[in-house]
Amino acid sequence: MQQNKWGRWGVFAFCAIWFVLTLFPLYWTLVTSFKPVLFVTSGPTYLPWIDFTPTLKPWLDAFSGERGDFVATFLNSVWISVSASLIAVILGSMAAYALVRFEFRVRVLSGVLFALAGIGTYVGLTQVKVGEVYAMATAFPVALAVSVIANRFPLPGPVMKNNDVVFWFISNRMMPPIVSAFALYMLYSKIGKEGMKMIDTYWGLTICYTAFSLPLVVWLMRDFFQSLPVEVEEAALVDDVPRFRIFLEIVVPMARPGLIAVTLITLGFVWNEFLFALILTTGDWQTLPILLSGQNSYRGDEWWAIAVAVMIAMLPMVLITIFLGRMMRSGLMLGSIR
């Protein structure tokens, strides 16, 4: 309708302003990465060739390796974030699917039993001089078995349902990461002493990221699965298709837009994570954010170098965003299903 033409202009202006606000810092970084040092420290300049003479030096510096090994670090980041987010999305969407389609009941009392059995076994084993790691490795499955078996019985006390399970997943993101990271380092270190190197390994970091991405994946994917029509799956059930094939061959294709979006979001989170990467790596598997923060050295902010690092770290994310935007347009939120 024509009437609110002015309203539409207002909306457009609002978006345009936000657009400029969003892009300006990125543009600024881009031009800064081509600025000679002198132009960085003498007031703001915006337009290459007009305001200043662009130079490739900061880029050449970055790839010369003297500001850290960008190539190897970049590849580390790629491997780890791709594998961690893929694993997280696979496991997380499986769990999310189960939480949508099945009913779970976890008795609070069996959780208490888990704790008691775990601590009991651990303390008992360490008393008889079993190594810490082995004690833990025994206590964990024992406790798990005890609580799983206990859960079968109609124990008294409150019962947690699917929503509580989801909340449990989410709550794992509530803890400030500082201590978790340190504790995880201690755990990895102990495991390492028993011969399985975890610190500064591909698996050490991947497992950690998988675990901390899972809550988000479960939360987001649950919404997507909830909006899928259940009859389609029932049709397959009646057709004697095993659950797993239903999931893989029917549910996953139907939820594909959602899966892709969640994968990309997870990828973003892992790609950008700093603290765990810092603490759990020493050299071989360092990731980009660490290198990036290193550009902010005690020698002062060398904007041109920082800008290059930011651009390098940003590039894959820009591609991802464009991709994600596409997905959203092509009916991310279903609609095409029926």
Partner: protein
Amino acid sequence: MAGVRLVNVVKKYDSTLVIPQLNLEVEDKEFVVLVGPSGCGKTTTLRMVAGLEEATEGQIFVGNREVTELRPGLRNCSMVFQNYALYPHMTVKENIAYGLKVRKTPAAEVEKLVSDAARILGLTEFLNRRPKHLSGGQRQRVAIGRAIVRNPDVFLFDEPLSNLDAKLRIEMRAEIKNLHHRLNVTMMYVTHDQVEAMTLADRVVVMRDGVIEQMADPITLYEQPANTFVAGFIGAPSMNFLSADLLQEGEVLQLQLEDGSRLPVPAKLSARYAAHSGKKVTFGIRPEHVCEASGESNAKAPVKVNVVEPLGPHTLLMGQVGETRFTAQVDAHLKVQPEESCPIHFNMESMHLFDPGSGKVL
């Protein structure tokens, strides 16, 4: 090939009792239709047979096998859903073949079965389309095709036509009927459209609140409803119910309506109803069993017309007899205006009498 038997089946959702107790036997190769108002438990019954819902109590048999605890895939039933439930990411061919592939049927056989099914259902030219690009009727046929290729013991249909428009519904109805003839297999069919029930069924099961009200072939259901519920549910427009007193006047049994009109009970029915004379009864008469009264009519009453609905071949008059709503189906050429009063003749051969308390037929 096998019939279906539900024995003392009870279904509760958490604490709400949806099906108090159900006993139902479907013969081998029979076409049974479940009808009933929304929420009466038709879908639930069907889903229990399919194994998509667990029976809280009781047993379910398919053929001679007890399947109560069996998972859906092993019951050898095929189900067609209201929303078709096609796999949106697969072509028609893949949709139909999917179940076979999962069961590792050899490719050549898959090919043959699919093309047979497609031919039967007239889908051959759409085999490579996706559901999105099919019309409602075509989608429905794909869903049926998917059910056919399994060669199941029992076909289950849950309101398969309710998403189609009126014309298509009539066409597909005929196709399903045809299919039953051709495949000669047990079918259970849920609908809340009584026309579908009447046209398709060997036997119709009328349900209300999880209880079977009557189970009979369509004509019986139409002509000899067991109670007011069934009488009102079967037939469109609904049967009219009028309160009346059954009076014995000499030889003649007569119905006195609330507005005072008197209607003689035909002689051949007198014997049946004589025992109830002197009682209050509910008099039931279908709209199609009345017509505009001519001079010689001996069983007539005035209808105050509210709405006139011309349907083409005939016209519906909706109005009141006394204070009670009344619908009459009259000849298309009768000119009546709303607010007029129109004398109506009752075809008393087709009358029904019910007990006003229990609603049971007398």
